[in-house]
């Protein structure tokens, strides 16, 4: 193992954990606030908290965007090669993704436990909504909790490396290209799903492929996790190509 990989990993993870602590703290506060709100207002006001996975996806995406270049600069100053610093970053992100998912799963579990039979207050998560059909009465088994943690971890890790991709892409692009790409992203985000939908409606083969992919993901959480990990691997490869020869310079 590389001599500096573990110190870099520990340093990066410690830094990430500080941000994650704030994030989890805010999430817990939000949940407590909702609980108090629902308890005070009484029955009849249905309230659902099911966006924790989405929130952690956004958190890790932003972390990927914000921290990628900073760490590369710092690690270069500390005499680390790009490959070692990027490996340390990926390791730290993977551990963080699992840790955040586990903590949020525990928080969700606690709220489900305390909510008990109060169906007007529902705390769930993405895994539960997709794979357990959002059954509000369901108490998750330990295995299902583990699946949920891994599902969220894979999804958030994918978002984190995607964040790195955008950060590195804009690092490498000239100002003109950065503007062009910046404008095209929201356009493509709208256009691509619409195009897929239209194309699959017009062409039976595409329609079958589309249904097959959705079916594959829907059949098991593990299929979705595998897809997330494969896509993450592809993005990591692209990220490496982007940063391999990038000029490491101080921020403007």
């Amino acid at each position: 193992m590389k001599k500096h990989l573990m110190p870099a990993f520990r340093y990066t993870l410690k830094d990430y954990c500080r941000s994650a602590g704030v994030f989890v703290g805010v999430i817990v506060l939000v949940m407590v606030f909702f609980t108090v709100q629902v308890s005070v207002n009484g029955n009849g006001n249905n309230m659902a908290l099911s966006g924790l996975a989405t929130a952690s996806c956004i958190f890790l995406f932003v972390l990927g965007v914000a921290d990628c270049r900073e760490k590369l600069r710092l690690m270069n100053q500390f005499g680390l090669s790009r490959s070692t610093s990027y490996q340390a970053e990926l390791l730290a992100l993977a551990v963080l993704a699992v840790a955040v998912a586990a903590v949020l799963e525990a928080v969700t579990g606690l709220f489900q436990f305390f909510a008990g039979d109060h169906f007007w207050f529902y705390a769930g998560d993405l895994y539960q909504l997709i794979y357990l059909w959002g059954d509000k009465t369901l108490i998750l088994t330990f295995g299902q909790h583990v699946d949920s943690v891994l599902f969220n971890a894979c999804l958030t890790f994918l978002l984190a490396v995607s964040g790195q991709f955008f950060s590195l892409l804009f690092w490498r692009l000239s100002k003109r290209w950065a503007i062009a790409v910046g404008v095209s992203i929201p356009v493509l985000l709208n256009l691509i799903p619409w195009s897929i939908y239209r194309a699959s409606a017009l062409h039976p083969i595409l329609s079958r492929a589309y249904t097959a992919i959705i079916g594959f993901w829907g059949a098991s959480a593990w299929n979705f996790m595998l897809s997330c990990l494969l896509l993450s691997a592809v993005i990591i490869g692209i990220n490496w190509l982007l940063l391999r020869r990038a000029i490491i310079r101080a921020p403007r």
Binding site: K2, K3, H4, P7, A8, R10, Y11, E70, R73, L74, N76, Q77, F78, G79, L80, S81, R82, T84, R245, I247, I248, R249, A250
Partner: protein, 284 residues
């Protein structure tokens, strides 16, 4: 044991920053890397520390490719701009450096910070230009790597702090010899420190020799313009200046030769030599 560059070239758009540079920074010597603005000094430093890659050529540190952990761990670059995060404080940076450079003298760094009046609780990005330089110099002086690269080390430092830095640098070199490369425009200030001078111009190495050797064969000759013009005929003149009726010329290859009466011989310091050389290159 050396940093070796072989055929290193780097181009930025239409500018050839480095052009087929081949040179060696040997063991335990103090090098001065001199050149005008845009000569390629910082590019060279950045390539040595793997902050950028050359378009062609290779760089090795003690025989190891420069872009590896093993090579990068042997050197420390104090650059013009700092690469530390916005939120990091000086003390935190010292802690972090210790993680990656086990030889870092943490106690010594705090002592130097005190001598310079550097506040350990301040965020690095909030430091003034001078204190930003001091922060990096403190790291450089205490990191104890075999190679220390200083790019404009005294940028923004007042005269008192510059003097203190040069003294500390010499003390560090005496106590713990290492290879130090100083890239600077303040030639007169480092002239007494540097043992070996590398002059770079438009991406090419113009001179690469011991400092004494460079200036040994060059003299200034001062005297009445008409008399001096006659003497200079057929000699290698690096630069000339006229003030009133007196002319001063920087001449190569005059040592040991008798001067006509009325002309005065003087030694050339490194800065004058550099300026003369650049003027001569401008004329070409």
């Amino acid at each position: 044991m050396a940093i070796e560059l072989r055929g290193v070239s780097k181009r930025f758009g239409g500018t050839q920053a480095l052009n087929d540079v081949t040179m060696t920074f040997g063991e335990n010597r103090i090098y001065g890397l001199l050149g005008n603005n845009g000569a390629g000094k910082s590019t060279l430093m950045n390539i040595l520390s793997s902050r950028m890659y050359p378009d062609a050529g290779s760089v090795t540190v003690d025989g190891i490719p420069a872009d590896t952990d093993a090579a990068l761990g042997l050197l420390f670059l104090q650059g013009e701009k700092n690469l530390f995060p916005d939120t990091m404080k000086v003390r935190q940076a010292f802690d972090a450096v210790k993680l990656f450079y086990p030889e870092f003298d943490r106690v010594g760094a705090e002592d130097l910070a005190k001598q310079f009046g550097l506040n350990l609780k301040q965020k690095i990005t909030n430091l003034s230009t001078g204190y930003g330089s001091i922060f990096q110099l403190v790291l450089g002086l205490c990191v104890n790597t075999p190679y220390l690269l200083l790019d404009e080390p005294v940028l923004g430092l007042d005269a008192q702090h510059r003097d203190l830095f040069y003294k500390l640098l010499l003390r560090k070199y005496a106590d713990n010899p290492c290879t130090i490369v100083i890239s600077t425009h303040l030639i007169a200030e480092v002239a007494g420190i540097i043992e070996h001078t590398v002059i770079i111009r438009e991406g090419c190495i113009l001179k690469d020799a011991p400092t004494e050797e460079l200036t040994a064969d060059v003299r200034t000759i001062t005297g009445p313009t008409a008399l001096l013009d006659g003497y200079l005929d057929g000699r290698t003149v690096l630069s000339e200046s006229v003030i009133g009726g007196l002319k001063t010329a920087c001449v190569q290859g005059t040592s040991g030769q008798p001067l006509p009466a009325g002309l005065e011989l003087g030694r050339v310091n490194l800065q004058d030599y550099f300026i003369s050389l650049m003027n001569e290159e401008d004329r070409k």
